[in-house]
């Protein structure tokens, strides 16, 4: 057990880095800040790898290890603890988080050079890694929620990192508030679990739930769907996806780390973690699959029309997470986790490479103002190409092919799958290839439209190369069944997760499906080449027609969800707060006060010093009194 005792140090290291930077950062030099920021993550990654190797070679009993630091609080038998849980799933997530974070931190030391918020940037980034590690290592849902909100906070802080721009602040606020809707659903889900089980320990719930809840009961339904609410917000799925494209206001390393590789997949992690609840609520699991399928299509279409290179990537992230949700929805737990890992590599890479391009173009985000960078920036071009290949799932040679085709296969072949789900994923694969290579061709081919402002140096290039290689070869740890029995990844995950239940007669169709999706991906690349490089005028002409313009705008604005929410939510709330700024309740009390003053005025009139008035008053009073005495 020796080495496992060090588990708590993995999240503690980034926390320490954050504390040092938060307290002393303002007085430190850039170099020292960079070293602290990177070293804390690097050491955590190293420790993760050591523990991970240990875990693979000599796994602990039952494939898990848990470490309790202290009891958080204890009320009436409900006592969540600050406690970590390591099993194959959390190990994979921890590895990806620390490893990719380390590369991105390293990259950032160069990317953020000269920014006045340098210490703040690394402090927030370290805090983020701490929160994310807490999220994936948490042994109970309350601690997970701490990490969950922590990553949301860091996302808010980093989207609004350049806070002097009102737009960035708005985007940051939007991200925080939209995800808060989901988080509120999630915490209500936690209340429900506390009420029924009096614990939030994940393993306890997973073992108790099947005996306490019948499959398909309404409690199971509510618990599953409320947690799903949290996952939808954080992972930017329908209908809470609107914040992610705007989140691109943050510095590019932030988009790579938080809004592509790690945080946005927290929802996938949550659902995979709580898989038992979803098996008890098949309706909700179907909803997960449908949301995944719908999201991947909507985001895919939206990505087609973007001009900002980061927004293309943002929509593609939403779309790829849609694939993961699709996998979760059909019960392909291991496939979802596998795609998460591969996606973290290639999407992190794409963002980092895009960041290098943006630096070179002096903060220009519009792809159509770039062009022809292939020759000038070969390292960036080739790594970007590898990443794009993985994203578009180019057959055989890219990692994305192995992870995505697994999902597509299960979407059809799983007992919970269907042709419709597969068809959505299939169309999505085509869209992915088109928008990805549209981006590649527009940015790196054609003629150069702008001078290069700043060339990347080694701290940028090395992370790109490492991730580039991974985007190609990481898929080989999970070869399709039909080709042979080499599946170490799913074997590992399936130690703690149920295997996919295949529908009857589906085993043989895998190769056929792979050929079809491989062809559609290549077709997508060809079409992108045809319409973006060879004859862009065709597309241009289509866009100038009324219909073309309408479609283009509709896609460009992400199916107008923002407009919708603006009308049904934002405007009413703002209106309501404006009309009653001065609190109508106060008006009521004021009216009482004014009534008092009025009466005072009236009665003080009667005290006017005329004797005749007083006599009159007395007589009148006596008359009234006498009447009452005599007649009542």
């Amino acid at each position: 057990m020796g080495i496992y005792h060090l588990l708590w140090i993995i999240p503690a290291l980034p926390l320490l880095g954050f504390l040092i930077l938060a307290v002393f950062g303002l007085k430190m030099r850039e170099r020292a800040i960079g070293i602290i920021g990177c070293a804390s993550i690097g050491l955590a990654a190293l420790l993760t790898i050591i523990i991970g190797i240990n875990f693979l070679t000599a796994p602990p009993e039952g494939y898990f290890y848990q470490q309790t630091l202290w009891t958080w609080f204890s009320v009436h038998g409900f006592s969540p603890a600050i406690s970590f849980y390591l099993d194959p799933v959390s190990l994979i997530f921890t590895f990806v988080v620390t490893f990719v974070s380390f590369l991105i931190h390293w990259y950032s030391t160069e990317y953020m050079q000269g920014d006045e918020g340098y210490p703040r940037f690394f402090a927030y980034m370290n805090l983020f890694v701490f929160s994310m590690l807490t999220l994936v290592l948490a042994n109970n849902l309350l601690l997970l929620y701490l990490g969950w909100e922590g990553v949301g906070l860091c996302s808010f802080l980093l989207i609004g990192f350049w806070y002097k721009d009102q737009e960035n602040c708005y985007a940051a606020r939007k991200a925080f508030i939209v995800t808060r809707f989901g988080d509120t659903a999630m915490i209500i889900g936690l209340f429900l679990l506390v009420k029924d089980f009096n614990t939030l320990n994940i393993q306890d719930i997973l073992t108790k739930a099947p005996s306490q809840w019948q499959p398909g009961t309404s409690t199971a339904f509510w618990a599953a769907i409320l947690l799903l609410g949290g996952a939808l917000g954080k992972s930017a799925q329908l209908p809470l996806q609107t914040w992610l494209p705007d989140a691109m206001a943050g510095p590019t390393p932030v988009s790579a780390l938080i809004h592509a590789a790690t945080m946005v997949t927290a929802g996938v992690y949550l659902i995979a973690r709580m898989h038992v609840l979803y098996e008890l609520a098949p309706v909700v699991q179907l909803i997960v699959a449908i949301i995944g399928a719908a999201t991947l299509l909507i985001a895919g279409f939206s990505a087609l029309a973007q001009r900002d290179i980061k927004r293309v990537l943002a929509y593609s992230t939403i779309s790829q997470i849609g694939y993961m949700f699709l996998a979760l929805g059909v019960g392909a737990w291991s496939a979802a986790v596998f795609h998460f890992m591969i996606h973290a590599f290639f999407k992190g890479l794409l963002f980092l490479a895009a960041g290098a391009v943006i630096l070179a173009m002096d903060e220009e985000h519009d792809m159509f103002k770039m062009g022809g960078l292939r020759k000038k920036m070969p390292v960036v071009f080739w790594t970007f190409l590898f990443g794009s290949g993985a994203l578009a799932a180019i057959p055989l040679i890219t990692a994305g092919f192995y992870s995505k085709d697994q999902i597509l296969f299960f979407a059809m072949a799983s007992a919970k799958g269907s042709y419709w789900l597969w068809l959505c994923g299939f169309i999505g694969a085509f869209l992915t290839a088109v928008y990805t290579f549209r981006m590649v061709f527009v940015t790196f081919f054609g003629e150069q439209k702008k001078e290069i402002h700043r060339m990347p140096k080694n701290s940028i290039k090395i992370p790109l190369i490492v991730l580039g290689i991974l985007s190609l070869i990481a898929g080989f740890i999970e070869i399709p069944k039909a080709w042979g029995n080499f599946e170490p990844f799913s074997n590992l995950v399936n130690k703690v997760m149920p295997q996919v239940q295949l529908a009857a007669g589906m085993e043989n169709k895998e190769v056929l499906l792979e050929v079809v999706t491989g062809i559609i991906a290549l077709l997508g690349v060809y079409l992108a080449w045809q319409f973006c490089l060879k004859s862009p005028k065709v597309l241009y002409r289509f866009k100038t027609t009324g219909l073309g313009k309408g479609i283009d705008t509709f896609f460009f604005k992400g199916f107008m969800f923002d407009r919708l929410y603006d009308i049904i939510l934002v405007k009413p709330v703002v209106w309501l707060s404006k009309i009653d700024k001065h609190d109508f309740v106060d008006r009521i009390y004021e009216a009482i006060g004014n009534l008092g003053l009025l009466l005072n005025k009236i009665f003080s009139r009667t005290q006017n010093g005329y004797l005749r008035w007083y006599v009159c008053g007395i007589v009148l009073g006596m008359a009234v009194a006498l009447t009452i005495i005599l007649f009542v």
Binding site: W70, T71, S74, V75, T184, F191, S577
Partner: protein
Amino acid sequence: MILLDLILILLFGGFVSWLISKWNQLAGRIIALITVIIDLIITMIIWISHAPTVSLLNKGPWISDFNHRWIPQLGVSFHLALDGLSLVMTALTLFVGALSIVASWKEVREKSGFFHFNTLWLLAGIVGVFLSMDLFLFYLFWELMLVPMFFILSIWGYENRKYASIKFFLFTQISGLLMLLAILGLYFIHGNATGTYTFDYFALLGTSSWGPLGFWLMCGFLIAFLVKLPAVPFHSWLPDAYVQSPTAGSVILAGLMTKTAAYGLLRFVLPLFPRSAHAIAPLMLLLGVIGILYGAKMAYAQTDLKRLVAFSSLSHMGFILVGVFSFTALAYQGTLMEMVTHGISISALFIIAGAIHERTKDREMGMMGNFWEQMPRMGGITLIFVLASLGLPGLGNFIAEFLVLGGAFQAHALWGVLAAIGLVGSMIYSLVILQRIFQGESRKEWKLADFSIRELIVMACFIIVIFWLGFFPQTILHTTQPVFDHIEQQVDIHAIQQGGAS
């Protein structure tokens, strides 16, 4: 005796500080501060040495008791007692009180001696409220709080202080009168039934039924507490009083005095009138939820910084109301955590608002923006308390809200869900504080100095405590556990139906 000392030290220290100030202002300030710190140390010693429970009276988990005959002809005794609940609240009072004195070190320049006299007497009144176990004495301290607060508000307040102080006085005085009537009602009903006329809390607690008047007597207490808390629709004094007070006044008013009302609900309304409390619970839950949502909505609409914070306080008080009237173990503990953590976070926010006002001579957020550039430390610290206010896990306020809402959900799922919607609201208005003041563009050229060492020390104390409570809330929950176990027994609906207390 030690309980009496706690109060006497404050009263005496207030006098000395006033007298010394005539000769040297700084010395007066230091004496006032030292007095409160001594008191705080005594309280902490009691806490550490007696934690968690020593049952002295066999009537619940009491740690310390002081009972002295005072006006025996009327059945009035000078009865102070301390249990976990009073202990935590006393510690909070002295902690926040000490820091509020440091925070207004430079703000109050005129008549600073009289100011500190009032502050210390105010603290004495609050501590007295938390310790009194004789209803007559309780009422006395309740009123004692009012007078110094009125002076602080009307002498050192801002531009509209006259209006605010009179409004504050009227609201609390009228509701206090209702409570006095209720106290007298208890006194006579108990006297008629048993033959012994007494104001003693424990004696009255033994009464099994208050007869047909029981419900109305409870309302007397309830309204006094609802006004002080405040709850919608009795909140209209709050924005004016909070906004017009000098910093120390706002801090004590929002951070401490409102907690006396929450304390009153837990200490008097529930145990004395368990059945009536159950009867009125649905209405109280409704008021609580309305308070949470309406307060959040009002806070969002404000452009005056202090007014925004004031309405945020209204919203958070809704959680207390929901917590008290959910009658579950989680919710009780959550209420207590809300009292403590809100006491800390709202105090810190008002001190920050005061610090901004000192620098800009303005509270209007429309003219502010981009303050982070010049005051990164203040920005970072504000961020922490904004996060506390929106209930981010890791800070004490989260534990409070989680327990209250979780407890409410156990009792009535619907109310729990409605109250939880407030979490979205608190996010929206809290971010306004950060973004309008510290981020974005500034309309005006500001020259601002970041937090001084003195202010940083004050803030560091608040920060340490709020994080401590976020990760080790058991420190407090452990101390109050026996108290709430006891209250839970007294208020348990099944026991009441069998036994038959009113």
